[in-house]
Symmetry: C2
Subunit: 326 residues, 2 copies
């Protein structure tokens, strides 16, 4: 299977390293909106071309993995390329999924291609676990917690505060809330009771630390509804301790069964990830395999993780899967 | 959707109570190998008939849930009924799955029906999580732990010991082993390091307690490879504290990503179940919905959980699922 990546940021490099772990997949091209000469790809033999020339390589690409931002890139790019390629993206702007789905579906059907949107871990694996949980335990509650991990959006927000040179924000689930859900207590949790936020800030020289701390802790939408801790550190400490992009989280389905609803059940799924982009890239690559198989079977249009039978993700045959994993 | 159940033991009653929680499903018939007059079904209006007469009701049944034992019932019953019904079972004799799959597949295809075998939580949900984990993290390790919960096989074994009036065995995962896996340490674990076994025994009057304890702890295949604890209790204590059938367990996929395999990831899925048969029944019922949908789409033959796109399990439409669960 020949894969191409559009874009070459963190997620794209995660996809690239995941492809290297799968013997049946090969990364052939990286397409970029920058000057191709400026992009150095880690994998030997990969051809870097301008995104403007992508159609020239159409016949040579089984799946195009589109690594762009959900705000402006993907709503435009995924429908555009779905006409000529089997495509996959990690679109995560929840409110706009119906519109994005419709646009990508139309384009993919016109071109006879297969597309998968909103893939990764949330949306993605967490969505799947919510679906399985709801189908199995129709009378119950869903809980999703994120972290401990880096929120890019909140880290960006910190870095925009006056006097901040660099910063990183970790979202942390509240342990007592996790325990309550785990014990089947079905708590009603406020935003503040679910997560705390921890910030590591490198201040500019002579900056007013108290003012920075106050600006962060009271920032509407981002921090004001949370218990937030701000730590001031040096650039050296930042580089030593906060270079990674870890993340993770928890999905619970807590429900009851029995004629008198007398029996409780708790389903818990959790991820503990050293590298958010590499794990997300690994999920994208497994689903890239799936949509290519589906396309060769004549299935076209836009799909989500809900529409893909799990066996399609695996390089193994049905017999092998049943023998080793059932 | 009209459902019938073959058998009326613990699992069948779990299926029955799950059907009552799903508005789109109705339990129409229970078929039994016993005298139908002796079977009192909890749900009003359900017709109880002899298994010998089942073919008479063929046109009136969308899915037949076969609740029998894996040792002798299911290998015979599922292929037999797959010819005339969409069927689902919870066959769990791992070594015989290929043979069972082939037999059921042949019969289902001949009759134009859809069958699903080995459904429940292990095999079933745990299998799915192993598949997803392996597909996403191809370089890694699988770990499955069971419990805390009742092992019927081990409880039966205890009750066969001389001097034992009643008994129940709980399989318990070793907490330090769980922690090690959770921390991404990829431990190599012996049988003894993964699980302990705890037995609650009601002795017959005047029985030799030391002899019972020794017979249990040294029993080959069942207990000799485990650290086993034996508690002697009264019949009253047994009835008060050990009437339930709780179970559960953990599936882990622990893997690495990155060009230098430098990043660790741990995926953990766990179940904590007050009632093993009711949860298993709930899984069977969701998959019964799925295979009926597949059959109406013209898909026939034998399937496993690997072959079913998750959306088929849900009573909701694609739009609803994408809006609420993605």
């Amino acid at each position: 299977m020949k894969i191409a990546i559009l874009g070459y940021g963190n997620l794209a490099r995660g996809v690239e390293s995941a492809i290297a772990q799968n013997a049946d997949l090969e990364l052939e091209y990286v397409f970029t909106r920058r000057d191709p000469a400026s992009v150095k790809v880690k994998t030997d033999g990969v051809i870097v071309r301008s995104a403007d020339d992508i159609l020239k390589y159409k016949e040579d690409i089984d799946v195009l993995v589109i690594c762009g931002g959900s705000a402006t890139d993907l709503p435009e790019m995924t429908p555009k390329y779905a006409k000529d390629f089997n495509v996959i993206d990690s679109f995560d702007t929840h409110a706009r999924i119906p519109e994005h789905f419709a646009n990508v579906d139309k384009a993919a059907r016109e071109g006879g291609h297969t597309a998968l949107i909103s893939c990764g871990w949330d949306p993605g694996m967490f969505s799947l676990l919510r679906l399985y949980g709801n189908a199995i335990l129709p009378e119950g509650q869903d809980y999703t917690f994120w972290g401990k991990g880096v929120s890019q959006g909140h880290s960006d927000a910190i870095r925009r505060v006056k006097g901040v040179k660099n910063g990183k924000q970790y979202t942390i689930p509240v342990e007592s809330a996790l325990e309550s859900v785990r014990n089947g207590e079905n708590p009603v949790l406020t935003t503040r009771q679910k997560h705390t936020r921890e910030c590591f800030v490198v201040p500019e020289e002579g900056a007013d630390l108290a003012a920075i701390e106050k600006a962060i802790k009271t920032m509407p939408n981002y921090f004001d509804e949370y218990d937030t801790t701000v730590h001031f550190i040096t650039e050296e400490e930042f580089d030593r301790d906060h270079k990674g992009i870890p993340h993770g989280g928890f999905v619970f389905r807590s429900g009851v069964t029995g004629f008198a609803k007398e029996n409780k059940h708790v389903i818990e799924y959790s991820l503990k990830l050293d590298s958010n982009p590499e794990f997300t890239g690994s999920v994208l690559v497994a689903y890239a395999r799936a949509i290519f198989k589906l396309n060769t079977e004549g299935v076209t249009g836009c799909k989500t993780v809900f529409d893909i039978a799990p066996a399609y993700l695996s390089p193994l045959s049905g017999e092998e899967i049943r023998a080793h994993l059932l």
